[in-house]
């Protein structure tokens, strides 16, 4: 992690005062067990060339930002690339230059623009190079890159790139550093910096005078603040995407209506995730028991929290977050009122479904099975050529789905009815398709 700042121009030597670093000495300080080093390579009347870098302590490799039990525990870029760690390490060394609180006689030079050439890096980023260029070019810099020797075998699969960044531009030292203080964390692929309201304060302070007019302002704010709660304070919320959140709500509403109309008392929601649907069903009158079944411990924990908040709510049957998986058999799901699979099947390889449905329909034997899945035909309306989600193993047309359901009902002991959820299109149907399997003795005449 290093930053080299050069200028060849009249008054260049003023910079040594702006840095508040004596030109005849090298400077070294210990910061968090690392060596932060500053030295001039040249410092005279007409040119100043300064390097600040961190010489990492060998033992620092043994401390990882990844979990302690990760195979790449000792293999990480956290003390190599110019990330927030770098900025915090050099913060004190460059303190005067950054905040502009120089000795009074040099105050007028704080805003003075020098023709700088700076090299900083390595930068590790997941951003496309064109975006990186745009970030700096919009601020008037010329950008050049130093890439590592190409490894064709691996660049095919690389998720992020790494390079040194050379910027040329005429700007004040303070402004230069302020811009780096925001843009380096924005570039960093794995930024783990601690986020709080202080972050907003920093964004305002270092962004003053340039950020608001930057064409990529929103992008910068999002990347810098990371969390929606913080971002909202800068950028008003807007909705969008292929599947609007409203479709999700529409599915939940539809399922709740069915559960109500079918007078179901016990519901098993398989693949319940964080329990949002179960929470919605908890308020359906007549429902006495709801199980939110999910194999992921993390999701279950979130569901549990969600359900805890429901206790003591009037007219609510608090769901139970329960461990369960469709690939295993669990006798406790036998003979329930309804089993719900809401947007679940398309995440499972098609050839595995028959076994799962045999277990559900013929072992668990619910009175109703409620099933929803995307209707592929509707993707045309979204203008999508691929499936809606990268994890979808398949998406079916309405006739594919209906044929498949008929096949699953192999002993024909269920009556099948099909539905569409969401806005209806005369040619392509609805975005979501649904089926209800009703055990024949429960089919009302």
């Amino acid at each position: 992690m290093h930053l080299r700042i050069r200028t060849a121009s009249p008054h260049a030597n003023v910079l040594t005062h702006l840095f508040a670093k004596h030109p005849g000495r090298r400077h070294e300080r210990r910061e968090k067990e690392q060596s932060v080093r500053f030295t001039y390579l040249k410092a005279d009347e007409n040119q100043v060339d300064a390097l600040i870098y961190v010489e990492t302590d060998p033992m620092s490799w043994t401390k990882s930002s990844n979990g302690p039990m990760d195979i790449t525990h000792y293999i990480h870029d956290r003390n190599i690339v110019t990330n927030t760690v770098f900025l915090s390490l050099i913060r004190t060394t460059l303190g005067t230059a950054l905040n502009g609180k120089v000795k009074e006689e040099w105050t007028e030079w704080v805003e003075y623009k020098f023709p700088f050439t700076i090299t900083v890096g390595p930068v590790a980023t997941a951003m496309p190079i064109t975006t990186v260029s745009q970030l700096f070019e919009s601020l008037g810099y010329t950008v050049t890159y130093t890439h590592p020797p190409e490894e064709t075998v691996l660049t095919e699969v690389a998720r992020k790139s790494v390079f040194l960044l050379t910027l040329e531009g005429t700007v004040s030292l303070k402004e230069l550093l302020s811009q780096l203080w925001i843009l380096l964390p924005v570039l960093d692929a794995d930024s783990h910096h601690f986020l709080d309201n202080d972050q907003i304060e920093k964004l305002k302070r270092y962004g003053a005078g340039w950020l608001d007019t930057h064409p990529l302002r929103d992008e910068i704010v999002r990347k810098y603040l990371k969390f929606p709660g913080l971002i909202e304070q800068f950028i008003p919320k807007r909705s969008g995407g292929d599947e609007s959140p409203r479709l999700n709500d529409a599915r939940y509403d539809w399922i709740a209506e069915q559960i109500d109309a079918l007078r179901v008392r016990s519901v098993v929601d398989f693949g319940a995730g964080e329990g949002k649907l179960a929470e919605r069903l908890a308020f359906v009158p007549g429902v006495e028991q709801i199980w939110a079944v999910e194999p992921s411990a993390r999701a279950l924990k979130k569901a549990q929290k969600r359900f805890e908040a429901l206790t003591n709510r009037i007219g609510c049957s608090v769901p139970e977050a329960t461990w369960g998986s469709l690939f295993y058999y669990d006798a406790q799901w036998k003979d329930k009122g309804a089993i719900v699979l809401c947007e679940v099947i398309e995440h499972i390889e098609e050839e595995r479904l028959p076994s799962i449905f045999n277990t559900i329909l013929h072992d668990y034997f619910p009175k109703q099975l409620i099933l929803t899945t995307p209707n592929r035909e509707y993707n045309t309306v979204y203008g999508l050529e691929t499936s809606r989600h990268t994890d979808h193993r398949f998406e079916w047309t309405r006739s594919e789905f209906q044929n498949w359901c008929e096949q699953m009902n192999l002993h024909t002991i269920y009556t099948l009815t099909f539905y569409g959820i969401g806005e209806h299109h005369s040619d392509f149907g609805s975005p979501t398709q649904a089926a209800i399997f009703t055990r024949k003795e429960w089919t009302r005449a």
Partner: protein, 858 residues
């Protein structure tokens, strides 16, 4: 008349006071027919609860008399309570209890009858019938005479109860008149002494040819009388269902009748036996499921020998079948060794009898009704806890495997499977192949193959479980189970396709050399110190571990896994190794190679299981390498090179030492890149992919851990010869000090050339037999440069090396041992065609152990 007392159950004395109950029982104790503890006497219990034997109930004063009667009633109640509790305790333990009380009230007798019935034990009555005058005489002589009125009232009560008693459901009711009747004790009808050994035979179903073949194979010889005897005096025990479905039911029945009568064979009751017995008894039964064949044979017999002879024969056969007990408890030196039963038994039923037990033993538990109206059978084996082996048949299984101290030895002979004998006490299995006589549309052996693919039941695993392997029981904690289950619910191939997850491998203890973390010296010394000298070292391929299951055909794949994929390649965590087009191409080539190598024909197997490494590393780990290793190397090189160059331009200040440090860092970064570079090459052309096999783990008939590693290396070569896709694994056989030095030399050559290192193994898989300590199945020794990829580019800096040398191996070694045992157990279960649930138990256990937060760098 002889009074035959049972070995267990309730014997209820019935008779007024003074009728001689206690006296007769005392006599039997003296004659050692019964023992004192078997008698529960009301007098004794009254004394025990109240301190007094006799409570007068008459008094001149009305109020006092009322009090005495109340007191008497209360004492009676508590005394009865005590008796019942004592009796129940004995019944639970399967012992005899003789109730010495008047038992004149219907209600009292009924209570005891129910008690005996609850514990499925016999209920006998002993009626003491003594004249009134005799009773009065005896009463007068007593210390506390009951008085004339009470005696007379009891006599009247007995008289009025007599007809009821006669109709009550006693298994036997004896009348004791003189007290000098002959008395004997029967032994348990369920006990069968092991004697000189027993050969337990599965369901014969009229397959007489196969049965006689098996008898000869077992060493029985036919005598002049036509009977088969074993030279060592061994006896035959049939698990029933000797008839029906097959061709020679009558012959089989005659065989057993003769051998049972001669004391050479035993047979237990069974569903077909019971059905035929009732049919022979002339009851209205529907003959189906092959029972109609028996009827035909009897009709043919009648046509040949006439009605009379046939009815005599029928009576004989009926008697044999009805005499067959529901089960036998095979004892050695009075201690049960095994229980033989037809369809199943509960632990609480063993050694007992009732209609319910008899039915259970014939059919097994009924838990519901299938959609086709057939009874749905439950699994009783999971409830079997008693440390005694239950041998059963009835429900054919492809292979006789002992599971939780139960073993099914019906291998579907009549369905074209095998006829099985289990030899006791050695537990040796002897089998003969059989012809498919039944030609049934529903073949239970095929049904089993479908049933075994059912999704595993989850509840018993969720809170943690113990997996039993040949190498001991392994406890898996609940939290880890859930992590593993989450993994199998999201990321892996179908559970049916997962047979084996490779075990983790331990590195050696840290090197004694100052600048090495791992060195072959410690690994070889580890084995040599355990007295294991014949070792093999195998070059470690730096690729990705892959387990490859190859089926001969789609039909075979469907049968074994429920899916038609003929090649299944899994990563070490059960994920699909390849995907998309590459998967299709690779699987085709793998299948071709195994076919070309000739394994399917040579081994007569439907599948073969390979343990391998697939190269290059980036086939599977491309993204990991690109985003971690290559990324870090590139970043570090860019950084240090740039810093070093910049510092070299310093004109104002001397930063020479800083520059040197940066250059040192650059060299480390370049060494780091050089450490992984040899393991990466382009796979744009899939000819670039190579598979190095190092174990041929198993095929349909055998776990190949019985072969030394040198044999496995030959197989690796054989596959390499058969296909360019495969490469042989390089290895050296070593022993002794010279061997060690040679190995160390080779290791240096390998690692100097950029190799990952090698793996040291005992030449024989199961080396633990030569020592009483657990032996690591293998130990990896990784190269000095390679370890930069694990411990960081500068791990050789003295202070870093000192830090990483502090690693502990205990946990890793235990994990390696447990996972190894579980892995082989899972394959064994697959070979035995056990259920997916049983196989997955092992796979799940390995994954659960792996999810334990141990240091993954080891």
């Amino acid at each position: 008349m002889t009074i035959q007392l049972p070995n267990a159950g309730i014997v209820l004395c019935i008779g007024p006071s003074n009728s001689g109950k206690s006296t007769v029982l005392k006599q039997w104790v003296a004659n050692r027919i019964i023992s004192q503890d078997e008698i529960i006497s009301s007098d004794q219990c009254r004394l025990q609860v109240s301190g007094t034997l006799f409570t007068p109930t008459t008094h001149a004063d009305v109020q006092k008399q009322a009090y005495l009667r109340e007191e008497y009633a209360q004492i009676s109640e508590q005394a009865f309570h005590l008796m019942k509790t004592l009796a129940e305790a004995r019944l639970k333990l399967g012992k005899l209890v003789i109730i010495d009380a008047t038992n004149l009230a219907t209600l009292d007798r009924e209570r005891y009858r129910k008690l005996a019935s609850r514990y499925h034990l016999p209920f006998y009555g002993l009626l003491f019938n003594v004249s009134e005058s005799e009773l009065l005489t005896r009463d007068a002589q007593r210390e506390h005479a009951r008085g004339k009125r009470r005696v007379q009232s009891q006599v009247r009560q007995l008289k009025s109860e007599m007809r009821k008693i006669e109709r009550e459901e006693f298994d036997a009711l004896y009348i004791v008149e003189s007290g000098r009747e002959e008395v004997t004790r029967t032994s348990s009808p369920f006990t069968l002494p092991l004697g000189d050994g027993l050969d337990v035979i599965g369901d014969i179903h009229g397959c007489m040819d196969e049965w006689l073949e098996l008898l000869v194979k077992l060493g029985y010889q036919q005598g002049k009388d036509g009977l088969y005897r074993h030279p060592e005096g061994r006896k035959i025990l049939s698990l029933g269902d000797i008839m029906s479905r097959g061709p020679k039911s009558l012959e089989a029945m005659l065989f057993f009748e003769a051998h049972i009568q001669a004391g050479l064979a035993y047979m237990i009751d069974s569903n077909h036996g019971w059905k035929i017995a009732r049919w022979l008894d002339g009851r209205k039964v529907t003959l189906a499921h092959g029972d109609e064949n028996v009827e035909e044979e009897f009709m043919a017999y009648e046509n040949q020998y006439g009605k009379e002879k046939t009815s005599v024969l029928k009576a004989r056969m009926k008697k044999m079948l009805l005499d067959a007990p529901s089960h036998y408890v095979i004892e050695e030196e009075g201690i049960p060794l095994a229980v033989a039963v037809h369809a199943g038994i509960r632990d609480t039923f063993i050694g007992r009898h009732s209609e319910r037990i008899a039915d259970f033993c014939r059919y097994g538990p009924v838990v519901g009704v299938e959609q086709n109206g057939k009874p749905k059978r439950g699994d009783w084996t999971i409830d079997h806890i008693l440390p005694v082996l239950v041998v059963w048949g009835h429900d054919p299984r492809p292979v006789p495997v002992e599971i939780q101290r139960t073993i099914n030895i019906d291998q579907g002979a009549v369905f074209g499977g095998k006829l099985t004998a289990l030899r006791l006490p050695s537990k040796e299995i002897v089998q003969v192949e059989a012809i498919d006589y039944a030609k049934s549309t529903i073949n239970p052996l095929e049904e089993w193959f479908e049933k075994r693919l059912k999704p595993p039941a989850i509840q018993k695993w969720l809170g943690g479980f113990t997996a039993k392997t040949e190498r001991g029981a392994i406890r898996i904690a609940g939290q880890q189970v859930k992590t593993a289950l989450d993994h199998f619910s999201h990321a892996t191939l179908p559970l049916e396709q997962l047979v084996y997850l490779p075990p983790t491998m331990s590195p050696p203890p840290v090197s004694a050399l100052p600048d090495y973390l791992e060195h072959p010296d410690e690994a070889i010394a580890y084995y040599q110190d355990l007295g294991i000298d014949r070792l093999i070292v195998q070059k470690k391929h730096m690729g990705s571990r892959a387990v490859i299951l190859v089926f001969r055909s789609q039909e075979a794949a469907l049968k074994w896994t429920g899916y038609a994929d003929t090649v299944i390649t899994t990563s070490r965590t059960g994920r699909d190794f390849f995907d998309g087009d590459l998967k299709m191409k690779m699987h085709e080539r793998i299948h071709d190679a195994v076919v070309t190598a000739g394994y399917f024909e040579e081994l007569e197997t439907e599948w073969i299981l390979l343990d391998s490494e697939i190269l290059p590393w980036n086939v599977k780990a491309g993204e990991l390498i690109a985003s971690e290793y290559a990324h870090v190397a590139n970043a570090a090189i860019l950084d240090r090179a740039s810093i070093a160059t910049t510092l070299s331009e310093a004109a104002t200040v001397d930063v020479n030492d800083w520059q040197q440090e940066a250059e040192k860092g650059l060299r480390d970064a370049e060494a780091f890149r050089n450490a992984y570079a040899p393991y990466i090459w382009s796979v744009q052309n899939d000819d670039a992919i190579q598979i190095a096999v190092f174990h041929v783990l198993a095929h349909q008939h055998e776990l190949l851990t019985s072969k030394p590693h040198s044999w496995h290396m030959e197989q690796s070569q054989r596959l390499a010869d058969a296909s360019e896709l495969f490469v042989a694994t390089e290895f050296r056989l070593i022993s002794g000090e010279q061997g060690k030095q040679d190995a160390i030399q080779w290791w240096h050559e390998l690692t100097d050339a950029g190799g990952e290192g090698f793996v040291v193994k005992p030449l024989d898989w199961d080396a633990s037999s030569s020592t009483d300590r657990p032996v690591q199945p293998a130990m990896k020794v990784r190269g000095r440069e390679y370890l930069r990829l694990i411990y960081g580019m500068n791990y050789l800096e003295p202070e870093v090396l000192a830090h990483v040398k502090k690693r502990g191996l205990k946990k890793k070694q235990q994990m390696a041992l447990d996972e190894y045992a579980l892995g082989l157990e899972g394959i064994q279960r697959f070979i035995h065609q056990e259920s997916v649930e049983r196989i997955h138990e092992c796979v799940l256990a390995v994954m659960a152990i792996e999810s334990d937060p141990a240091d993954p760098r080891l």
